[in-house]
């Protein structure tokens, strides 16, 4: 693909991601925050596409936008009072929060800048799905199954908690 188009797409997606992320924390209404979060997730998926990881992009949208955001919206709608605009969404802890965020940014930024990233000039394989499947069902079978059992336990636990009235 033509290089300038890729750069343009990257900068648009990056701007949407960052703008959306800022809107998530500054929006007055918590439901708007959730919708902006959906926008951020979609543009992150766009970044994955630019990195030639379409599988990851599709899974990102399927799980984060299609499941998590929908669940957040669902939970917010069930608790109608929170979505009313009269409830304050922020508290007076702006300064400590800013300091903590800056500290986290410094740590992460430092790590990203100093870590010796492995760089490869090879182009990614055209179809990553079979490789991922092999890895999950053969090489990393046990961790994969354990994750499944943990999720099942969480599911059963949630049902039992919800049933106790």
């Amino acid at each position: 693909m033509a290089e300038p188009a890729v750069y343009a797409a990257f900068f648009i997606l990056a701007a949407v991601t960052l703008g959306g992320a800022i809107a998530v924390v500054t929006a007055r209404n918590i439901l708007h925050s959730a919708l902006f979060l959906a926008l951020v997730f979609v543009s992150v998926a766009g970044l994955y596409v630019l990195l030639e990881a379409p599988f990851l992009a599709a899974v990102q949208i399927l799980i984060y936008v299609g499941a998590i955001i929908v669940l957040i919206l669902f939970a917010l709608m069930l608790t109608r009072r929170i979505t009313g605009e009269r409830v304050r969404q922020t508290n007076a802890q702006a300064l400590p929060a800013a300091l903590a965020a800056l500290a986290l940014l410094a740590v992460l930024g430092g790590l990203v800048a100093t870590f010796a990233w492995r760089v490869s000039t090879e182009s990614p394989p055209p179809n990553t799905v079979p490789l991922l499947g092999e890895a999950l069902m053969r090489t990393y079978m046990l961790p994969f199954e354990v994750a499944g059992v943990v999720l099942l336990v969480a599911l059963v636990g949630a049902i039992i908690l919800a049933k106790e009235r």
């Binding site: 439901l31 919708l35 992009a57 936008v65 669902f74 709608m77």
Partner: protein
């Protein structure tokens, strides 16, 4: 003479890929750079897909009203144009010139964005569907996953509409829609997985090719008794639920909650929801055709004719269901999804996997 007929027939058989090739060759001849030709061809194929889907949607609204009319022993629309054929165009003009009303206490931005968010994914799905041999706008490696990912965005549009309208009926409709779509998405994915397992690929093109078989008919997944047939049935049940169509039309049950999340919409925004619903209905039929009815596979007739015919049959079944069945109750709805359809789909996957393993171990 015979040769001329044969040439003409092969031209008709591969009409659209031939047209695309000729056009690309012509564009290259005009001295455009390579990426310019690619970009133009991509835009053109997107345009062709969108226009044909729009025409299909207009046709389906008319077909729905006509067929339902006949099933209810009346004529259906027959005043606009010959046999009422121009009725959808009259409807479209009506949407365009109606007043756009936003309720006073509605969240204006979310209210406006909701129909757009709900309608766009329905169009995006068509990008990967193979309408004929070599007639997919983009045959992605992850086609099935792409369809699931894109169509899952629709739910957000519906929930946005339900919440932003600031109306109790809208909110109830939006909640019902979200709960229903999330619940039926699970067995839907599981039944689509059967077709993926049988073809060994997530690409829709490969899934269709794997259904060749004798005469281009006997290889269809729906004829792979029992798991293929069962997967097709569970897919159709869940797909109707995802579409919010009768008997799963609780989110817009007119007799209970006005029209649910669409209650406070009018004019073009209402039209967009309507458009999205029909786009989705045709998309679901096209996906069912691709995954279970062999896509464009079939003897003698050109592939795109076979594809169109199969899609029409499924669309007809959707309309038939709508005019035949009564609506579910809320408690029956969830129980049916989690206690009936999901276990069947899950066991079906196990049976499919076992059958494939046995086949590979003993027959090959």
């Amino acid at each position: 003479m015979l040769d001329a007929i044969r040439n003409l027939w092969s031209l008709i058989y591969n009409l659209f890929p031939n047209l695309a090739q000729a056009l690309a060759a012509f564009l290259r001849g005009t001295g455009l750079p390579g990426w310019g030709v690619d970009l133009l061809m991509a835009l053109l194929s997107a345009l062709v897909v969108v226009i044909s889907v729009l025409l299909g949607m207009l046709g389906m609204t008319l077909m729905e009203r006509k067929v339902m009319g006949r099933m209810q022993n009346r004529l259906g629309p027959n005043r606009v144009g010959p046999l009422g054929l121009l009725q959808p165009i009259a409807d479209a003009i009506k949407f365009l010139i109606k007043e756009d009303i936003v309720p006073t206490n509605a969240d204006r931005w979310v209210h406006t964005l909701a129909p757009i968010v709900a309608a766009i994914p329905a169009v995006l799905v068509y990008a990967v569907i193979p309408f004929g041999k070599g007639m997919a706008a983009a045959d992605l490696n992850i086609g099935v996953l792409y369809i699931l990912a894109v169509s899952s965005i629709t739910t957000i549009g519906i929930v946005m509409a339900g919440w932003a309208s600031n109306n109790k009926y809208s909110l109830l409709g939006g909640m019902r829609a979200a709960a229903q779509i999330i619940s039926y998405e699970v067995p839907l994915v599981l039944s689509m997985l059967v077709a993926v397992m049988l073809a060994g690929s997530l690409s829709l093109g490969k899934i269709v090719e794997a259904q060749g078989g004798l005469l281009g008919i006997l290889g269809w997944n729906v004829f792979r008794v029992p798991f293929g047939t069962l997967a097709f049935l569970t897919y159709m049940i869940c797909a109707v639920a995802e579409l919010n169509r009768t008997p799963f039309d609780l989110p817009e049950g007119e007799s209970e909650i006005v029209t649910g999340y669409i209650t406070e919409y009018s004019g073009l925004k209402w039209g967009l929801f309507y458009l999205g619903e029909y786009f989705n209905a045709i998309a679901v039929s096209a996906i069912a055709t691709t995954l279970f009815l062999g896509g464009w596979q079939g003897p003698i007739l050109p592939p795109y004719v076979w594809f169109l015919g199969k899609v029409l049959v499924i669309v007809f079944i959707l309309i038939w269901l709508r005019s035949t069945l009564p609506r579910f109750r809320v408690d029956q709805l969830m129980g049916f999804a989690w206690k009936v359809v999901l276990p069947i789909a899950l066991v079906n996957i196990f049976v499919t996997g076992a059958a494939i393993t046995l086949w590979q171990a003993f027959v090959k």
